[in-house]
Symmetry: C2
Subunit: 343 residues, 2 copies
C-alpha cells in the first residue's frame, strides 16, 4: 500500500479524523477534543465505514479524559457510551466497539490505570481490525485470482477500515501479488463514496479501475465484463442477511440475473447474532437534501419530495459467500455463522 | 396540463429549443438558425427525448432555407439529412423523421412550394406525435388506474415529446381523471434527467412524486411501494428489445425479481422493424466527463477512468407490455409488433 492517509488516529490524546467528506479534492483532518465533536464526526460522515466508525467511537470515548481522575471518567462513562451509539443506527460495529469499552471500564478495578486500560482496549480494537483485514485479504485472495474482473459499491477499503479494508482487501492483496485485476467502481449516490473514496484509493494504489454511475452496472454486466461483485457490510444478521450502503441489494439482484457470484467481506465484528434477520435491522433514513443537492448545489426543483434511505438489506439467498477473518462462510448461513461465532 | 414550456417550436423560420440542460433552475431557449446549431443542440442535449429529437431534426433541416429557391434547398438536402442523423446514433426517431423529410423532398416536384411542403411535413410529424401521445395516454390509463404507485426513469414526459409525453402520458391522464397516483422518480445519472426534468414537470403539474437516487429503487420496491414501472424508449426492435436511458434494464431486472409489471410506452415511430433485436442497436458511448462530474462539479480523482454508455437494452422477456398509440402490445412481440406495423 502506498502512503495512504489514515481515516482514524489517536494522537496527543486527541481523536484525529480524516475528513472523508472533502476527498478527493482535499486531504484535511478534523481534531476531536469533545464527545460532541466525536458524535458529529460520526453523524455527519467525517468518518464513515462500519469498522472505522467503531474504532473512532472507541477512541472517542476517551477525548478530554487523559488528565481526569478515574472517578470523573467513570461518572458519565455510560452516558457517553449511549450517546455515541445513538449517532448512527445501522452499523453494528459502533455499538460493538462502544460496548467493549463499556465492559473494559466495568472490569477495571485499578483506578490509577483506568485511562491507560481504556486506551489499550481502544488500541486493541484498532489493531484487531488491522489483523482482521489482513485475514480477509488472505481468505478472499483465491476468489479474486479466479475472478479478476470485479465490481464494488460504496467504499469498503482503507478509508472505511484499517489499512487494506474489507471488500478491497483481497483486491489489494491480489494486486500486490501481480494479479491483473480491474475494478468497476459504482459512484454510489447520494454521497458518492465510490467516486470520491474508492476510485481515489484504488487509483492512488495503482489498481486499474473504471468509475461508473450506479445504474450502469447491469449494462456492464451484460457486456460480460464483471466476474464477481464484492462489497462490505454494516451489519450481517444471524441468517446471513446483510445491511450495506443503499444500492447493494440492487447489485445482488443483478448478479443473480447474470449468474455472477456476489460476495460480502466483513470482519466478525460486523456479524450480529443478536439480529435474527434483515427484518430486524433499522435502516437509517437520512435527510432528503442529500438526494436533492450535491455539495450545496440544487439539482432538483424546489419543493419536490425526496427520500434518502442510507442502507438496504441484501437477502442471504442472493449472497454467494461471506468472506470473514475467520474463513469463507457459505450457505446455509444460519449454521456457518453460528459455528464461526462460537469460535 | 399547466402551461408547460415547449421543448421544440418553429417560430419565425427559426428552430426554438428549450435548453433542457438549464432546467429546473432556468427556463431558457436556444435559437437555431444554422444546421450546425441544430446538430449541436441535438448532440449536446439542449433537446433530448427520442420523439423530440425527431421533431427538432425535421424542422432543423429547414433552418436558413425559407428565402432560398428550391434548387438551393435541394442542392445539399441529402447531406444535411445525413449530417443530422449522425448527431446521435441510438434513438430511431431521429433517422425516421429525417428520412420522412428526405422522402418529402424527393416526392415534391412543384419547385415553388418545396419549402412549404417540407415545412408542412415537419408540422405533420410534430402533430402526429401529439396525437400519438394522446393515444398512449388512453391506452395506458387502465394500467395506471390498476397500478397507481409508479416508478419511472429518465424523462419521457412533456419535455421529451409533445404535450403529454410517452411514459408520463397515462400518468397525466390518470391524474387529470382524479386517480390518486404517486410516482417515484429515478434521478437518472449521469445527466439527471429524472431529477431535473421529470420531477420538474410532475411537480409543476401537481402530480405527487418523490425523487430517489437510481440505486434506491430495489429498496423502495422491497417496501412494497411500487405497483408498476413505466419508461419510454429510444428504439424498440422487431423482437421487442428496447433501448432506453442507461439504468432501464436495471429496473426491468428488479421488476422481474419483485414480480412488478414493467411497461415501455412509445409511439410507433420509435419501433424499428429493420432492427431485428437489441444486439443490432448501437449504444452511444458519451464522454466520461459526464460521470466524473456531478452537475458540473468534479466528483472523482483526476486521472481516473470512467465510462458513460448513454443507453442500455432491456431484453423483451423482461417487458410486460408495450404501450403504443396503436394499442397495448403483448408477447410474443415478434408477432404483435409485426402485426401493428403492417396495420
Amino acid at each position: 500500500m502506498k502512503d495512504m492517509p489514515r481515516s482514524v488516529e489517536w494522537r496527543d490524546n486527541t481523536l484525529v479524523l480524516l475528513d472523508q467528506r472533502k476527498l478527493p479534492q482535499r486531504e484535511e483532518v478534523v481534531l476531536c477534543d469533545t464527545i460532541e465533536q466525536v458524535f458529529d464526526g460520526i453523524r455527519a460522515l467525517t468518518v464513515r465505514g462500519a469498522p472505522a466508525i467503531g474504532i473512532a467511537a472507541a477512541y472517542g470515548l476517551l477525548v478530554g479524559s487523559h488528565n481526569k481522575d478515574a472517578a470523573d471518567i467513570r461518572a458519565d462513562f455510560n452516558e457517553r457510551c449511549d450517546y455515541l451509539i445513538s449517532a448512527r443506527p445501522t452499523a453494528v460495529n459502533l455499538a460493538w466497539a462502544v460496548n467493549r469499552m463499556r465492559d473494559c471500564e466495568r472490569r477495571c478495578h485499578k483506578e490509577s490505570s483506568l485511562f491507560a486500560d481504556l486506551l489499550q482496549e481502544a488500541q486493541s480494537i484498532h489493531e484487531e481490525d488491522r489483523v482482521a483485514c489482513n485475514a480477509i485479504a488472505d481468505v478472499g485472495l483465491p476468489l479474486v485470482e479466479a475472478h479478476p474482473n470485479l465490481l464494488t459499491h460504496c467504499n469498503a477499503g482503507s478509508l472505511a477500515v484499517s489499512e487494506l479494508g474489507t471488500a478491497l482487501a483481497p483486491i489489494y492483496r491480489a494486486h500486490q501479488k501481480g494479479v491483473k485485476v480491474h475494478v468497476f467502481v459504482d459512484e454510489t449516490r447520494p454521497l458518492l463514496q465510490g467516486a470520491r473514496l474508492t476510485a481515489y484509493e484504488l487509483h492512488r494504489n495503482d489498481v486499474d479501475c473504471t468509475l461508473i454511475s450506479d445504474n450502469m452496472a447491469a449494462h456492464i454486466m451484460s457486456e460480460g465484463k464483471v466476474d464477481m461483485v464484492i462489497v462490505g457490510a454494516d451489519r450481517v444478521a444471524a441468517n446471513g442477511d446483510a445491511a450495506n450502503k443503499i444500492g447493494t441489494m440492487n447489485l445482488a439482484i443483478l448478479c443473480q440475473y447474470f449468474s455472477i457470484p456476489f460476495y460480502v467481506a466483513v470482519p466478525l465484528s460486523t456479524v450480529d447474532i443478536e439480529t435474527t434477520s434483515g427484518d430486524d435491522i433499522e435502516i437509517e433514513e437520512r435527510d432528503a437534501s442529500e438526494v436533492k443537492e450535491y455539495a450545496g448545489h440544487p439539482i432538483a426543483p424546489v419543493g419536490v419530495a425526496a427520500r434518502s434511505p442510507a442502507f438496504d438489506v441484501t437477502p442471504h439467498k442472493l449472497i454467494t459467500g461471506i468472506i470473514t477473518d475467520a474463513g469463507l462462510l457459505k450457505p446455509p448461513y444460519t449454521e456457518s455463522i453460528a459455528k464461526v461465532m462460537k469460535g
